[in-house]
Symmetry: C2
């Protein structure tokens, strides 16, 4: 199934949560640290108790790359373990030119088997094109991110009065000939989502910033419901996957997932 | 030795070439394909015949990540093999927020042992800060890149009349409190280097675009010599490492390296 179809099937069922597997080994329950690969074991438990309600899983590469080979193994084992019907996103924020970008696309899509990826826009179309050639995959371009210093460049105003991030979203719309591009848009401030909705309307959206970063899932759902947009997913990481700490940590995660889903 | 000191020692000796290990397995000599890890074997041969004249080596992560575990091994083995006195650059173009960025820095600097890294500026200071905390390392921020679609965003004009890439370079200068930040600046067009030199003067520079991409090393050297700037390196990849194809391919690479160095 095409990545965008996976997204559409889940979101039409009212499932909008992307479980962010930011599986920082320094924060996973101590009881798992004797396992062969603690991160893999942790992820499997998280997946088991969230998969019925999840639309997608997002693997944050930083937490795997920082563990070297052990992290690489955990990443591969996690992708293997994930169900086929959920969207599996490589949150790798790649971006490079031409032939180099083609090799990054090969790594993420062919070698590691992800359905989707996150990409930096800075270098322009050359850096996106090799990913866009994978018709059955989905590439989310960074639009507005949820961090305080998004103002440094993303919110610089161009000489036509637009913010840079608005230009990026406009360009992504123009580039989206094959219907396999989407946008990352920080969900910490609902007003910004509302103010930019016309730009975002026709693109699949990945919204980080809910949970530990302060965004409200309920408000986002209400807004999108009011405007009839369905193809969006909201990433929740730390406040979900680290909801429990003890022996039965996954029970707390399961409960938290249900709470978020029902919100 | 601090990364910036490694750079300064080599460049004061008149060595300015950064050997780009874009070691695409589909292009390395067939004679190596039966080796345990062909990419490692190729890189070792390249390093052997270039190290006396090289200022730095740049490992383009895409070509390693696209090979999965084999690529990961080649990357680690190549870093291990490189001499201690050359600057070893992770051309990984990372960029993410806060704690995630800290894990990317940990991966590149602590886990893999690189001296330097390339970074995307899009998300602003939050994404650079965790790298900048490594005082003894060096982080090159993408300023102007050498690809045709650099115009999509990098050359957008801001409402103060500056190009976005100029704003990025200005900010990099402001952020450079510890003297461990530099800039990537595409060297395909010498005029752009000249026109932006005042912005670039006080920052270590990594200049891609020479060789296959058309930039001239001689012209760059002449220009920097005329303005008294020494702390720059010029990346040369494909036109150098794939200079030879047969059994004695490294002889052609050695010759090419001497030619470039003398140019």
């Amino acid at each position: 199934m095409k990545a965008v179809e996976k997204l559409n099937v889940k979101t039409k069922e009212g499932k909008h949560i992307c479980v962010g597997l930011d599986s920082d080994i320094s924060r996973i329950p101590g009881i798992l640290l004797n396992e062969k690969n603690p991160v893999t074991s942790f992820n499997k438990k998280i997946i088991d108790v969230t998969k019925d309600l999840a639309a997608a899983y997002k693997i944050n590469f930083a937490f795997y790359e920082s563990l070297g080979r052990q992290g690489f193994d955990a990443l591969v084992e996690t992708v293997d373990y994930l169900p086929d019907d959920v969207l599996i996103i490589a949150d790798a924020k790649r971006g490079d030119i031409g032939n180099t970008s083609a090799h990054y696309a090969k790594a993420v899509f062919d070698e590691l088997g992800f359905d989707a990826v996150t990409l930096h826009p800075y270098m322009g179309w050359d850096s996106v094109a090799p990913f866009a050639e994978y018709e059955e995959k989905l590439s989310f371009i960074l639009g507005l991110t949820s961090n305080p210093s998004a103002g440094d460049f993303e919110k610089q105003i161009l000489n036509d009065g637009k913010y840079l991030f608005q230009k990026v979203i406009l360009k992504t719309g123009e580039w989206n000939k094959k219907g396999n591009l989407g946008v990352v848009f920080g969900a910490t401030k609902l007003d910004e989502l509302k103010n930019n909705f016309e730009l975002l309307r026709d693109l699949p959206l990945l919204l980080p910033g809910v949970g530990a970063q302060g965004g409200s899932l309920r408000e986002i759902k209400e807004f999108f419901s009011s405007v009839g947009k369905e193809d969006y997913i909201v990433n929740i990481s730390r406040s979900l996957i680290f909801a429990g700490g003890g022996k039965d940590f996954e029970k707390a995660v399961e409960l938290k997932m249900k709470e978020y889903h029902a919100s």
